[in-house]
Amino acid sequence: MTPLPKCYISVHKSPEKTILPHPFNHLVDLLLPTDLYRLISNDLGSSPTLSKPLQWHRLSIPLSAIVETGFLTKYIKTGNVLMLSRGRIDIDNVFSLNDGILRLSLTKEAYEKTGLTGQPTRFGNTGPRKKHNRHLVEINLRDPAMLHGKKGFDRIVWSFQNKLNKKVDFLFCDLDQQKNHTDCPILAALGATTARQVQVPEVTSSSLVRVPSFDSPLGSVLQGGGTSLGAEYNREVWRDWAMHVYEWLALANLGPADRIIAGDNIDSYLSTYAVDQGEYEGEAGMGLTRVRFRGVIPASWILGVWRDVEKLVAPVSIGNRKEWFSLTVHGLENSPISWDRSAHGSMTGGENGYTLLSIPRKDEGNAECVKILTFEVVGSQDEHS
């Protein structure tokens, strides 16, 4: 039995704690009711985050290009970039760079050839005899000792020039591009010809779909209540509700999926899936809009989008009620880390991503407030907790 992936569900976790530590993202889906989208779409387009262009590049360069003085000074010492090389994390050599830290996830052969010091990787070492097949070398390029002329650094440069000297496909995103957005000669020299835009979304509006209840069933709780059978039941009900909502969000992001479309009446022989509809839109259903961003997407930009949407949605109420919206982010499967410094592998599935759902509800004083539900999913090989 292969290990299964995990899903963490949190309530009242602040969005920045989920968004910011997760650097390598490739797909962001914003999902909201079409009525709400129509109201905010103009303002959203001119919001601080979305109105500025955001670019990313593809580079085909050898590792040694990263440690050349020009690149090192501009993009690592003074700037900040995000880079990830192509390859499968458990099989190939994979290189990543974020916040000045270069991570080399190496096969046994490559590790022995380079002669750099590293640790056995957390994942990918589960052979029959538990041999250390893969190693992770972490180099903090912002360290003051990382300068040309210093012994340790020259050793690294030597192995990049002589051992790991093949050209590698990199994804590249400059996190400081708002400051120095003019075309950079260093990048041009490295052959980064086409810049790709992130901030132009792909917007799809759907026909009417069935929407589940975003209020957890009465009496159900996330945690607590003791060990009695009744309390266990209440927790069970909450879990089932949360998983149902999560499953529905995924179905809605699929396009939406056939089974949640309002007019769908499939035979139970083919599918028994049913949406637990709440008081939201009743039988008629609700139109949904998905705003999809693709590319190498920096975490701070995602937080910006979330904040912008939050701000725009706050004053809006449709038919006496506040509206919900959700943001789903998918991480790159083959990055050596998922959140922060948590090691990441991808044996049976390298999914690492999260969904934030903002639900309006009334608090005790009957005032409107917002509850944020966070779903974080990691594959079976991931340290994130």
Partner: protein, 144 residues
Amino acid sequence: MEAEMIDIPPQPKEPQESSQFLQRITIKNPEYSYSHLKMIFDPPLDTAGVVDAITWRTTLTNSLMQYLGVVGSAIRIDILHIEGGEAVLRLPTTDMVKFGAAVSGFVGTSEGRSIGFKTLGNSAFLMGLIGRAREEDIWDGFGG
């Protein structure tokens, strides 16, 4: 997620979620898992046609019957979404391993064509499949 019968306890009068403290749970054994499959025809279909739900269901039943017999055909499969020759399916997590083996080894025939499946992704969480299916695009067309 056991399916035991439990007497429904009396409902507490007020919802107990008033605290603003962080609360968190971990789901390790979800009830369902999901599979993203593509049906492969050889020779390929002339029309770039959609494979309908009935075809999916019967072909899947055939493959499970072939590999596991009657036990296999009893696995409950929900067809959640169909797009072209691809489908997203939901089935009980406990049957996932058997199912994976059955579809990957299956070769059937229909109207002179042989049919097989290609597994595009499996996950215990549907959201995980969406990210995986789309990731290749970002790496494609390098140098372009």
